[in-house]
């Protein structure tokens, strides 16, 4: 390791970084805001998704058989359900057992002894491997031989799925906008830094420094902007988690948010990565544009 070279390089980065403090702070602040929003969004999305999954996981598909379904048809259906990779389990419930369940559920509500005959059809109780598969599985099952009708919490499932998709889209757009804004501000910071050092860059190029070498200090600068911004955002998020989150839970007592489902180390890593990449990339593009002209 040639310490003289390392020292020279770090000196160049440091000088560049401290040259325009105001712009530097602006860039860091923008990244911090962007990453905070991103972090909050990811956190809420994970807890919401958990909440949604909790509801959706309880969703089962009831496939009612035609009254005249033969045992062979029932056997074929059982085999078809077993062969479908999307189906986690399919349980055959004969009408006698269905009635028993109904009586259990209605005990004390309705006098089921009034029923003189069993009005229920035989059915399969099907669970899909994931909530998103429910509508498709239900539609496919409906088409099978011997099936009369298929019932699941259509409205609930579809609404929840749609809500999830809408939230994800809003989040993506929001994050995209913030990334672009942060990128623009960092690339402007870089442009100012490049402009301030244009004499040095001209001399570097004249004496035969490679483009990569000329770029490096600026890219490091962008990277540092991004990382510091991310760290600031993480601190902000930690504070919010400790102060705002408990109050939100109090305000919404009927919603069972579970913050424990968020994988904190991986979330922090993601935020740092996003900040760093945006910073370095914006700087890279900005210097590159200068060097080409």
């Amino acid at each position: 390791m040639d310490w003289g070279r390392v020292k020279f390089f770090l000196g160049e980065v440091g000088r560049s970084f401290t040259r325009n403090t105001v712009m530097q702070i602006t860039a860091i602040g923008t990244v911090a805001v962007m990453v905070t929003v991103l972090g909050a969004f990811l956190f809420v999305r994970t807890t919401l998704a958990d909440l949604g999954n909790g509801v959706l996981e309880q969703i089962e598909i009831s496939a009612y058989l035609k009254p005249n379904a033969t045992p062979q048809q029932i056997g074929a259906l059982r085999a078809a359900f077993k062969a479908d990779p999307r189906i986690a389990s399919a349980e055959f419930i004969p009408k006698s057992e269905g009635l028993k369940e109904l009586r259990e559920r209605m005990r004390g509500v309705v006098d089921t002894s009034l029923l003189t005959e069993n009005p229920l059809p035989d059915k399969f109780r099907i669970r899909a491997r994931s909530p998103e598969m429910v509508p498709a599985v239900a539609a496919d099952v409906r088409r099978l031989n011997g099936i009369d009708n298929v019932v699941y919490g259509q409205a609930v499932v579809e609404r929840l799925l749609r809500l999830g998709i809408v939230l994800r889209r809003i989040g993506m757009v929001l994050i995209g906008v913030f990334l672009v804004v942060a990128g623009i501000i960092i690339s402007n910071t870089t442009r100012l830094a490049v402009y301030a050092r244009r004499r040095e860059i001209a001399i570097m190029q004249l004496v035969g420094a490679t483009n990569l070498y000329v770029r490096m200090p600026f890219i490091c600068e962008g990277l540092i902007d991004g990382l510091i911004g991310s760290v600031a955002a993480i601190v902000l998020l930690a504070v919010a988690r400790a102060t705002v989150w408990p109050r939100m839970l109090e305000a919404l007592p009927f919603v069972q948010f579970n913050a424990a489902v968020v994988d904190v180390p991986s979330l922090l890593l993601q935020l740092l990565l996003v900040g760093g990449i945006v910073g370095a990339l914006a700087a890279w593009v900005s210097v590159g544009r200068y060097l080409q002209t």
Partner: protein, 236 residues
């Protein structure tokens, strides 16, 4: 060492900076490029260190086809060339030593090479005693000597000078020209673009004259106005 064949340079604004220029410069030569401002002297030098590319023609510098050189390989070419300008192009916030070392540091030279070559370059230009000073504490001549030390620190085979004495008084001019001569005597090929008639006439070296982008005179041991009428001499 340097060869131009049928080189023309047309700027995008339509100005023809060089028009079918052919020129051979041998290893170890000392050559003046003369002519009025805007006759293509600087353009010619810029072509040699690949700041611009010719519109047509072939350029070879130290065995490298510069007109075809891809951008990626330009740094390698420039490490074999030293370039000096009228305005010195020194970094004001670096000392003499740091300015000279900069040329090696940014090309990734090992520290021990820097420690060996920077003092040698400063000694050659006679600035060892000024190494800790900043450019604005130096005279114009000393600043240009610093720039020359920087151009030489990587031991280039060719030194290109674009009006090196343009900002200097006669005393400093003599000092710089003598220095360039000494550098040339050590084996470096030196190309000097200038319109300083006194310098050219005193040195009596090869003189290539450019007029409107064309070579009009090329004489060994030449004078600035060799081959031109008396009236033009007086008007110059």
């Amino acid at each position: 060492m340097i060869s131009l064949r049928g080189v023309s340079l047309l700027y995008p604004n339509g100005v023809r900076a060089l028009d079918d220029v052919s020129l051979e410069i041998a290893k170890g030569e000392f050559i003046f490029l003369v002519g009025h401002s805007g006759t293509g002297k600087s353009s010619l030098l810029r072509l040699l260190y690949r700041e611009t590319r010719p519109t047509t023609g072939e350029i070879t510098v130290d065995g490298i086809r510069v007109d075809r050189l891809p951008s990626m390989r330009v740094p390698a070419l420039r490490r074999h060339l030293g370039v000096v300008f009228q305005d010195f192009k020194l970094l004001p916030d670096k000392t003499v030593w740091e300015n000279v070392a900069f040329a090696m540091q940014v090309t990734g030279a090992p520290t021990k090479d820097i420690m060996r070559q920077v003092p040698r370059a400063l000694d050659l230009v006679g600035l060892s005693h000024r190494s800790r000073m900043y450019p604005d504490e130096l005279s114009g001549g000393e600043q240009q000597r610093t720039a020359i030390a920087r151009a030489l620190v990587n031991n280039p085979k060719i030194l290109l000078c674009d009006e090196p004495t343009g900002n200097l008084d006669p005393a400093n001019t003599t000092e710089i020209v003598d220095l360039l001569l000494r550098i040339n005597l050590k084996g470096t090929t030196v190309v000097v673009a200038t319109h300083n008639q006194a310098v050219v006439d005193r040195m009596r070296r090869r003189v290539v004259r450019l007029d409107d982008g064309k070579i009009t005179t090329d004489k060994e041991r030449g004078y600035y106005y060799l081959g031109l009428g008396q009236g033009q001499v007086l008007s110059g």
